[in-house]
Symmetry: D2
């Protein structure tokens, strides 16, 4: 079921990077949710290539078409189909067989799995697929905001060796994040990040980094016990994003170096309800949301596509030197920000609908 | 579906920490797999409490009973039910209502979700539930070993501030891991870890740490594209383990500080097939196994249960000081090693059965 | 996923007919439902063998043990494990290989699928497995009755050629059904049915029949559109019962001989809400419940196990004559009544929890 | 999950009857299957409105567009998206609120479930949705034919009171079925059926009927035990088709009137393998295919839309007389033939991929 995410609020994505179109079908979104393309297009615009000199020059307008599920600005309760036509696809030349798998791409593994490869090196493995998730994620975000007032925001917190101050306790807006092309809202850090990206790009190289994501106003009680902990659903979603190699929730790896007495979040009473004085748990305890902000840190490896020559082996075993061209990002992080937000939204929306409320206290009927 | 893991090779666990029994039902395990309790008991023995002075003194024999699915040493293709009776349960006194949620336990969130709590503070949230996973994981391991020669091994690689050399390239055995009570196979590091645990325990405190897990001889081609990447399935499994707050696959967070030219795993030809010269991808590329060892690093926070007094708030908002007793581990890491192995095995077995082979090249029939 | 039923309110059954035990794990049952063994045992007693001379003499007390999920008479929200020990199992003699598949049993197909057979001819294919469903179904019934006041009742409406008057509009009770050993509440019809069964049994033969099931007070709005229509979920459940070969909902096959103007259920206003004047739809329109009684008719073929000699072929192709012994029912219908009720309850409980409520009309937040 | 069918070979459909488009996404279809629009269009043409005077005059070309998953005539292993633009949609006038639910349509139940209705009375409940299934089913059929040589054929076996001879043992072709506009391959019966349809249509009325479906060369061993019996998967699929109210597999309801000695299918040896001398089981025993033809009889109620006036109640409870116009079929049966074939194909393809092969007999590794 590799192309379906979620058990209740589900999304199915489809489409190859260089085929006719990509798209998504969102199922089980509640009826009567106010929704239009205007709720979706802004996130697609943030993910779109060609936004700055930090990103790939591929040109895709990525205008979303709502094929179904919405009438007169309200969802109908049926599946919401979202279509994005590919306009700048450039399938590779078929007459030339592919001699060698590109290092750290999906070429080798897709060939091993399917025995066939899509016309471009990317196919389903291309990061282009994430545009469909972003469209679906925007629907999930609208549902979360409308029905639960939940808010999700992500930003670039590290690029290569460059990182900045902890901003998780600030109430950042997407406008502040987008004020910097690199999508790190701290201007000084952003400047150093952009420098690092340009330097790598100048060498025909690429850099990785970290995206931080905070989900606020998640009601206490989401997430199922044991296998479908909210942390597990979020982890499933984050590790399904191309290039992700690590995830921390709350204190993450730093928690391993703390003692219990240092890590425990003691309760306090505030505004008539229990809150935690600290939030090292990152909003999830025992796999279930506790009402505090959910805090994620997502590690992206550097883009595998680089312009410098690479020594490698061809499918027939002979050594060759690859000097890949293609149009790619020296750093995917700025464009991955809405992708992280989308997967967080999809996981949370799934948890929202998966929650089973307790029985009311009634005189038993039987 | 919080108590079912997997889409194809599935496990359902049940049972509260202080109820009559816990157990697991494994579904879709292939028929004709040689299997007996002897394949399962050793991993349960490694997880069992009371193995050394590093662990909780709760006494559970954890002898597994195979209720179904196996006859004369072979699986029948039907569900395999595994039962573990609780023998040392001590439900709390009902006459005393619980005044306050314990900090960083699941008390608060379970109450928010279910409106009811099990007789002990643990219930389904207790780490005791993981015994059922270990039993099911041993079945998955047997399937992987028998049908695919896949081998899984985990060990403690960090406790608090103490960590040792990188052992991922060594062909370690479980015997070597178990030679140290703390389950770090490097004797010097193990000694320092045990010291750290005893020191924390002496203060009534707890420590966290990291478990490293390596899966060898995973065939190339496992994992589904997009949402059910092998990395995503493994992440789902690992983050479903109590106390897990972080995960790295391959180079993990360190990858974020490398350039693409440094991180890419170039191909080489070895023994007639393509291998990678390095393994920064950790055995997974484009979400699909590439035949190299899969390498995971799993971060565990320190146990929430501590013996030192904690200032916190009661459900009614008043401030109180908790001095929890109970029987718990100052460090869960040594006993969590077979749990990590179990979740890796369950995720891999699910990926194995989820793989859809390409059509054979036949003259088309239609 | 052959041993799991339902997407939300799920049940997993396990156990071979002649193994140590059979059982069920119910997942996602809402917390705080009043539940004890007393809610479950009566339905098991109705399914138990040896109730009258119409049924198999196998002796099973079928006392249910609740292993988990319930404390102090309330569900906890976790999985409810139900265990039934086999006490009168008689595995076949292993030293004698099975020469021939029994006609119209599952012997041949299980061998084709699994390449192995359980110790008795039955294994998972035995009707004994349905005891686990009945236990799980009783939990579903309790949930439906407590939270939705939904009531389910089934009875034997035909045995072989014998059938009686249409009783679907009468408010029958289980007591009235059970007043007749054959579980047809019309005494005259019941008498003729019992005669037919005894006649067949006297010839070493078996008979089939029809069970009618009515589900009252099902709220309007259950069932999902398109593939998971309420009718489809019920059909899935009914056709999963051993020996079922046909199903009608509402007017069923008779509807095929009516014109639209005769079949349509016109609306009327009664007690302040819309009802239908007739109920040829059987309580389901467009796949969704309309609040009228749901009416099912389930066709059971005659038991395959008969005592008269049968000419057939052995696995090696040679012709042989089988004269099977074993302990079986000449007519499964009386004992299948609670099984039909259980599957109806499980399908309805799943539909209840699968229902996604529309968004409330709120000022949009985004 | 109302819009997704299947656990392994899955299809998601989307689209309202009078929206922009309808479509389907097929997931998990094996890679390297030869596939093009030419495999899909013929079945769509058979389902298309306006084929004869027996069907609705709505004009839809229903030309399928393959958006993804196929390149150069071979499947890639990724999701196959199929798009059908609506060209003759006529949404109802919004300024006029709908006063009354149409009798035996989904109007009342959709309103109860979603609190909103699509622009036409149909929306997702319209039979137009089945075009998407037919497209997806054609992909499933191609897979079954190519990889397993399985063949599926359906025809109209009854219309109202008119039925013909049993044709299940004849090797019918779709050409023979399509030779009659009513899709009953027996010319004399077809003539009487068409007369019955024209007579009903002349009265502004509608008629129901029965479709028989035979699946040949289904390998023995498909279908999972217990809940996902092959019969249960097929029943789930058939009862998900609009207007279906009954299903028989094999001897069906007639089996209830037979004795075991009459119903049992004894084995014989033919061409070196075991076959059954008769096929009252309809190709499925113990829920698993036995290699004999699978035989289904599907009951369709008469179309709810009729042109004669109907006395009914409005939403506000007042009595009114409806005289519905709209463009509908007096008898859906002829166009439902490819829909039944599609659902049979989707259920069988799902069973094919769900099958778990036994472990090979290897020396155990552990």
């Amino acid at each position: 079921m590799g192309n379906i995410f979620g058990n209740r609020f589900t999304v199915t994505t489809f489409g190859e990077s260089h085929g006719a179109a990509i798209g998504a079908v969102v199922d089980n979104c509640p009826a009567r949710l106010p929704l239009s393309a205007d709720d979706i297009q802004p996130q697609l615009d943030r993910r779109r290539p060609g936004q700055s000199d930090l990103t790939t020059p591929r040109r895709e307008s990525d205008l979303v078409e709502l094929l179904s599920g919405v009438e007169n600005g309200l969802t109908l309760g049926g599946p919401i189909a979202l279509l994005l036509r590919n306009t700048d696809q450039r399938p590779r030349d078929y007459s030339q067989p592919v001699a060698a798998p590109r290092p750290s791409h999906a070429d080798f593994t897709y060939q091993a799995k399917y025995g066939i490869m899509a016309a471009s090196g990317g196919g389903r493995a291309s990061a282009r697929e994430t545009a469909a998730r972003v469209a679906a994620g925007a629907v999930a975000e609208k549902f979360l905001a409308h029905c639960h007032k939940t808010r999700i925001i992500a930003w670039v917190s590290a690029v290569g060796d460059v990182s900045g101050p902890d901003l998780t306790e600030q109430a950042l807006t997407r406008r502040e994040v987008d004020a910097q092309a690199v999508r790190c809202p701290d201007p000084d850090t952003a400047r150093r990040m952009q420098e690092a990206i340009r330097q790598a790009a100048g060498n025909g190289d690429s850099v990785g980094g970290i995206i931080t994501c905070v989900c606020r106003d998640v009601p206490a009680g989401w997430g199922d016990p044991v296998f479908d902990k909210l942390s597990a659903l979020l982890a499933h979603g984050m590790f399904s994003i191309p290039a992700v190699k690590g995830l921390e929730i709350g204190a993450g790896f730093a928690a391993t170096r703390l003692r219990g007495s240092q890590h425990n979040d003691r309760f306090i009473s505030r505004d008539g309800r229990l809150r935690t004085a600290t939030n090292r748990s990152g909003g999830i305890q025992g796999g279930i949301s506790n009402g505090e902000p959910i805090i994620l840190r997502v590690a992206f490896k550097p883009t595998a596509t680089i312009a410098c020559p690479q020594q490698t082996a061809a499918y027939d075993g002979t050594e060759i030197t690859l000097a890949p061209g293609g149009r790619h990002d020296p750093c995917v992080l700025p464009r991955a920000v809405p992708v992280v937000e989308a997967m967080a939204a999809l996981a949370l929306a799934d948890a929202a609908l998966s929650h089973v409320a307790p029985c009311p206290d009634l005189p038993t009927q039987k």
